[in-house]
């Protein structure tokens, strides 16, 4: 391997950054041509789900951790934001002693201690990131230190999500139970209010999407990112190199949770409520579908997968019969993607692009027994020799 400068970015990465930037710019430019507040709200909602898809792609596509409970951290973020926004409504929607309305209905005498810090919006926003992250770090520590991987990790995350959801539903007096937290104030920063039905919220979501997309991209291109990918491909080999495999897994799991928490907060701002369905199995498995369809090993693909699938679903939802057959088609499409396009649409596009760009490409690597499996390990070694 020829020695390269450490900061030299390969042509492929440059192209990738350019494509990502172009898509983000297109998303950011949309309100310039679209002025319908209702549509902007709808698209902002899709974009939030796109962020959620990016977070799953990070843990599933890059680290090989199939998190069937990705909605847990999404929901936690959403509830943190809802708690902060609920407390801002105190002068308007309250009963005695400045309590949120549902607590009054449940005869709660005073605001519980864990609600009090949420009087501060800064705390609420920080908690929306930190709480999901801590949850993921704890669960990750519990799983990965015990070398729970693959199918068992998937089942553990699913079970953990159902536990959290059951607890939220059960503790109705403090969480609003089945109804969730509704009648929220609008999010505002330094006097500027983000109306859910306006371009300001759309821009907020679009900017967060751009930031998380590039943040995730930076993580995957970093040395840590390469090691994580190597763990996905050959866990034992990386362990034999002396890396603390569990630590890397916990790290990527937490970063993914932080992004999902951010998405959850934005979802509350756009939807104007938080509900236990945000931590539900249906949402969580839908995210898996979007990411699988779009391409789990491409952050952008996963995001676009979410936009396309939820967008189509939204467009068809006006008609009941269409929606019914759509679910059937969705199931079929999903099975076909799993069978024939394990890397999703992004993988297929990459393959096609590879065929066309073949001539310009660097010397063809010698055929290997398992090219996909060894690639990331080789990259790690390369990264190792550079550092």
């Amino acid at each position: 391997m020829p020695v390269q400068g450490k900061n030299k970015v390969s042509g492929k990465t440059k192209l990738e950054i350019a494509v990502y930037a172009a898509v983000c710019l297109a998303i950011l430019a949309l309100p310039l041509v679209l002025h319908d507040a209702f549509l902007l709200n709808k698209y902002a909602r899709y974009l939030v789900l796109g962020i959620l898809a990016v977070s799953l792609s990070l843990s599933w596509g890059y680290a090989g951790i199939l998190n069937l409970g990705q909605a847990t951290t999404f929901g936690l973020g959403s509830y943190c934001m809802a708690m902060a926004l609920k407390l801002k409504t105190i002068p308007i929607h309250t009963g005695a002693d400045g309590l949120p309305d549902f607590m009054v209905w449940n005869n709660v005498p005073e605001l519980p201690w864990f609600w009090k810090p949420f009087y501060s919006m800064t705390f609420g926003v920080a908690a929306g990131i930190v709480v999901p992250m801590l949850f993921a770090a704890l669960l990750g520590w519990f799983m990965f230190r015990g070398r729970v991987t693959g199918v068992y990790a998937a089942i553990t995350t699913l079970a953990a999500m159902v536990v959290v959801q059951l607890l939220i539903i059960d503790q109705q007096a403090y969480t609003g139970g089945f109804n969730g937290i509704t009648d929220l104030a609008q999010f505002d920063v330094a006097g500027f209010t983000f109306d859910a039905y306006s371009s300001s919220s759309y821009y907020l979501v679009a900017i967060c999407l751009t930031v998380s997309l590039f943040l995730a991209l930076a993580v995957t291109k970093s040395k840590t990112g390469l090691i994580v990918q190597a763990i996905r491909d050959q866990e034992d080999r990386v362990r034999f190199f002396g890396y603390d495999v569990a630590l890397y897994q916990i790290f990527i799991f937490s970063v993914s949770a932080a992004i999902a928490g951010l998405a959850g907060m934005l979802y509350t701002i756009v939807m104007e409520f938080a509900s236990p369905t945000f931590l539900g199995v249906p949402l969580s498995l839908s995210v898996v579908i979007w990411v699988a369809v779009g391409g789990r090993q491409s952050l952008l693909g996963a995001m676009l997968g979410a936009l396309v699938v939820t967008g189509t679903q939204g467009a068809l939802s006006e008609s009941e019969t269409f929606l019914d057959s759509w679910t059937l088609i969705m199931g079929l499409l999903f099975v076909l993607v799993v069978l024939f396009l394990p890397k999703g649409i992004a993988g297929a596009v990459e393959k096609l692009a590879g065929k066309f760009g073949h001539r310009r490409a660097a010397p063809v690597p010698p055929p290997q027994l398992q090219p996909q499996r060894t690639e990331a390990v080789a990259n790690t070694r390369h990264a190792e020799s550079l550092s």
Binding site: I155, T156, D170, I289, D324, L328, G331, L332, F334, L339
Partner: protein, 289 residues
Amino acid sequence: MDIVVSQIMTGLSIASILMLVSLGLAVIYGVTGVINLAHGEFVMLGAYAAWALQTELGLSLLPSLVAIFLILAAVGWLVEVLVIRHLYARPLDTILATWGIGVMAQQAIRLTAGGELRYVQMPESLSASVTVFGATESAYRLFILAVALALFAVTWGIYRYTSFGLKLRAITQNRSVASSFGINASRIYRLTFAYGAGIAGLAGALVSPLKSVSPEMGTTYVVDAFMVVVLGGAQSLMGTLASSGILGELSGYLAFYSNDTIAKALVLLAIVVIIRFRPQGLFTARVRA
């Protein structure tokens, strides 16, 4: 005394249903390693098959059981041929694919049979109650218990005493060595899948008179069945028997004494902890790897 007996009987009844539902899953997972999230939908299809045979053909539940087993075995066989057999090398993807199949099955039923609740008549000969050790018990629940035990015995017998079972055990221990001795592993896998699906169908048909039949009914069963299999250990049929007994009695007890939601959350937490510390299950048969 009566209360104790009836409490135990309630637990046994829950356990026998758990046993029926999870036996098929245990067989499929134990042999092929496929996590079949469509298992709940196989149960649901079995219940709908019972309903359809009863309303369309006027067949009572008991005579239609054989047909239901065959129908669901055919469905399982088809699913294996079309989808699962391409995925044995990618166990994580089987979760996704079988979930997609489950979604399709649910939606197909919703489109053809409708989304509303359906009811299946209990066989008249079994609708009476009988007295056991001073406690009154529905004859049908006792019948389910008997069928569950019988099916377990049959499965155990196949596993232990037939040449098919011998091949099955050989493949479970080491597929490539077994193949090199001339065992057709793909065929065994296909039959196993069909058999597991058939049992799931029977389970659905048998519980259908006790619970209402709906397209979503499978979802709860698949979670319960997974708990049983994880607790019992994937490759141990005896583990499945023991863990359905434990979970059945435990749920009966918890539902009697405490809040349902918290009980469910506690059981799930226990599963998470068990996966972490004993991923092979509580009752693992020793397998020479």
